[in-house]
Amino acid sequence: MEQQYKPKLLWLQSITCNGNTHSFLNHPELFSILSHFELVHHPVLESSFCMQELIDGILPCDILIIEGAFMEKGYLKSGVEVSSIIEHYADNAKHIISAGTCATFGGIFKQKDPEAISGFCFDEEEKTRRYAKYASKLISLPGCPIHPKWLSYVLLMIANDRKISLDALHRPVELYGYTVHTGCTRNEYFEWKIDAKNFGLKEGCLFYEQGCQGPYTRGSCNKILWNDMSSKTRIGTPCFGCTEPTFPQTELFHTKTNMGIPATMPLGIPRRAYLTLTGVVKSFKIKRFSERLMEYDR
């Protein structure tokens, strides 16, 4: 029987913490997903070729996954600029996936040298000079780190030769059409404008005091749960907006306000609509929301 052609998958790292690599290793169906591909090279998994062969620049590659922030000059592997290795494979690949916020927008490591460090095709929201060359095959998967199922979605769509709908920043709409707020178990408290009184509680919304960026951060963290289990906001940690071009902002555990009103509105909500609604909702005192969800007998 003739063997079916498997797309050749190449995972390259630039300036990274390896977080995306380890996040993807948490995918419960990792090996069934990888069975659709030939792993040309991967940072930790066994693969067909070693790093030196990769640097020598002779390997075929259909899908290029880039992890880590990008720098034109000054980051070498085996004496070769990492930027030139990546560009070489990007030229030849049919699809380029920027895995994680560093590779997509620059992320945390951009702050070390904001002038020199960026994402591969975007520098925050600005297009880099590489954008024009690679835009036609670019898929952005921001997240610090990437969610393993977001990556598997893209890989399987490619393996099945399906078209992936993308937004203006090349993010798949099926994954980034939601905000992190969608599916948060604290939504009732958001609706009735009840803030979490402190950290370490099941009750209350983290948007008003604790810095949660969920209502204006694109990502499906509360729909496709992390580790198949939970999310930051579900366990009482604010969303830090790690999928956004602006990540990381400052004073991450504190909501920035203007005269007591959150400085950034939920995505797409006009300030006036928000204020009107807040005025109405706050006029009610609902007993259930001032109590603990459950009391344990002592």
Binding site: Q13, C17, P43, Y75, P145, M229, S230
Partner: protein, 433 residues
């Protein structure tokens, strides 16, 4: 005397390193370890709110991010205490933090065992294996990080530990789910790693009983022993641990005598030609990690191996896998003791201190991790991170070669040295943070 220097790129550690091996008379005389890229997390933190370190420092490393979170929160808590604010964590918060940290160590050790050690040993010994080691590793690590995520929301890169406690408020249902996942990992350890019950395994306390271990761990020990590798890779027999944990109290061990330590005597220095800083304690180099923990705590089976093989790769490798059993057993206790009706966090969310200085230490997978934060006018003015691998992987100084370098010296081939190098559970991203 004929000298020859060979440069080799080492990969599939966490990141990559370039090693320059100097050969003389057919043996390795010296090794220079070069790490890739400095990312400057410490500088990135300057000028930021002290709590931002809880979000930013986990990004030092994809595999020990949680240890960074715990070190960062302890540094703030220590600073608060120094400034006169009593912390007083509840037992619940302590147990949850210890448990999630144990989960991170567990996933690390199993990944290292199956993805770094076994495949490289097989390569070194030219054994062709049909096993999918990575599948075993990811099955275990995915399961245990699920248990971690119940409390932390996600792994990697969570920021659920905050001054005064944790952000989560688990229900009994959550705790039970974590217990089930943990038991799944215990089964894996019993059936696949050691082929003996956890109880039986933990009763092993001397080299003469090692034959009771079967499974993949037993096979590894057998391969090391029968191929004359048991005494390879010895270093200075000096160990250090900076954080008290159930695995070990803080202390240092020189040959076999254990004494106290204080982070004030830790000295960091730049290294010529490397982006990674070296680190020493009172001008001496020490090994850190599971073997250090085993030696400082005088863990009977580790001491027994040490008596026979000194600080060889056999003892080093054993100590790391052995910790899996200790961590599994302790995790059972930690979860069982959690009382869901206790408070999760004892400090007010809005509490903000403007001046403080604090140090946080934690036992991470690869050894002691130290964070030091100095806050003036409400912002971080200085942040120091000293990672475990800086201890193990520095070049050393004029007087002494580095810990891993010393272990590799005398090897007859690059393959041999490469394997010894990997027994240190190398992480280049941490070393060059």
């Amino acid at each position: 005397m004929k000298r020859m220097v060979i440069r080799q790129l080492i990969e599939k550690i966490e990141g990559e390193a370039e090693l320059d091996y100097t050969f003389s008379e057919g043996r390795i005389e010296d090794v220079k370890i070069n790490f890739g890229f400095y990312r400057g997390i410490e500088e990135i933190l300057e000028g930021k709110d002290p709590k931002d370190a809880l979000v930013i420092t986990p990004r030092v490393c994809g595999i020990c991010n949680h240890a960074h979170l715990i070190a960062a929160v302890r540094a703030i808590e220590d600073g608060y205490e120094n400034a006169g604010v009593k912390i007083g964590l509840t037992q619940k918060a302590k147990n949850i933090r210890e448990f999630t940290l144990a989960c991170e160590l567990l996933q690390n050790h199993i990944k290292w065992f199956y993805m770094t050690l076994l495949p490289n040993l097989e390569k070194y010994l030219k054994i062709v294996s049909e096993e999918n080691h990575a599948m075993k590793a990811t099955y275990f690590s995915t399961t245990i990080t699920k248990a971690l995520a119940i409390f932390s929301g996600q792994w990697p890169h969570s920021s659920y530990a905050i001054p005064g406690g944790v952000t989560c408020d688990p229900t009994q249902l959550d705790v039970m789910q974590a217990q089930s996942l943990l038991e799944e990992c215990v089964r894996f350890f019993e059936q696949v790693v050691t082929a003996c019950s956890l109880e039986k395994y933990l009763a092993i306390d001397s080299v003469s009983q090692l034959h009771k271990i079967e499974g993949d761990f037993g096979r590894l020990l057998h391969l090391l022993g029968s191929n004359g590798m048991a005494e390879m890779g010895q270093s200075y027999d000096r160990f250090i641990v900076f954080s008290d944990s159930f695995l070990s109290k803080a202390g240092k061990s020189i040959v076999t005598s254990v004494s106290k330590v204080d982070t004030r005597y830790v000295h960091e220095s730049a290294q010529k030609g490397s982006v990674a800083k070296a680190v020493s304690y009172k001008n001496r180099l020490y090994e850190t990690g599971p073997l250090a923990r085993g030696m400082v705590s005088k863990e009977p089976i580790v001491k027994s191996l040490h008596k026979r093989y000194k600080d060889s790769l056999m003892t080093r490798v054993f100590a790391r896998v052995h910790e899996v059993a200790l961590l599994l057993e302790e995790s059972r206790k930690l979860l069982k003791e959690i009382r869901v009706d206790e408070p999760s966090c004892t400090l007010e969310a809005e509490l903000k201190l403007y001046e403080f200085e604090g140090t946080g230490t934690v036992e991470a997978a690869r050894g002691s991790l130290i964070h030091k934060t100095t806050v003036n006018n409400g912002v971080i003015v200085k942040y120091d991170i000293i990672t475990p691998t800086q201890w193990n992987l520095s070049h050393g100084n004029e007087k002494e070669k580095g810990i891993a370098v010393k272990a590799m010296v005398g090897s007859q081939s690059i393959e041999e040295a490469d394997f010894i190098f990997r027994t240190f559970d190398v992480c280049s991203v941490c070393t060059a943070q």
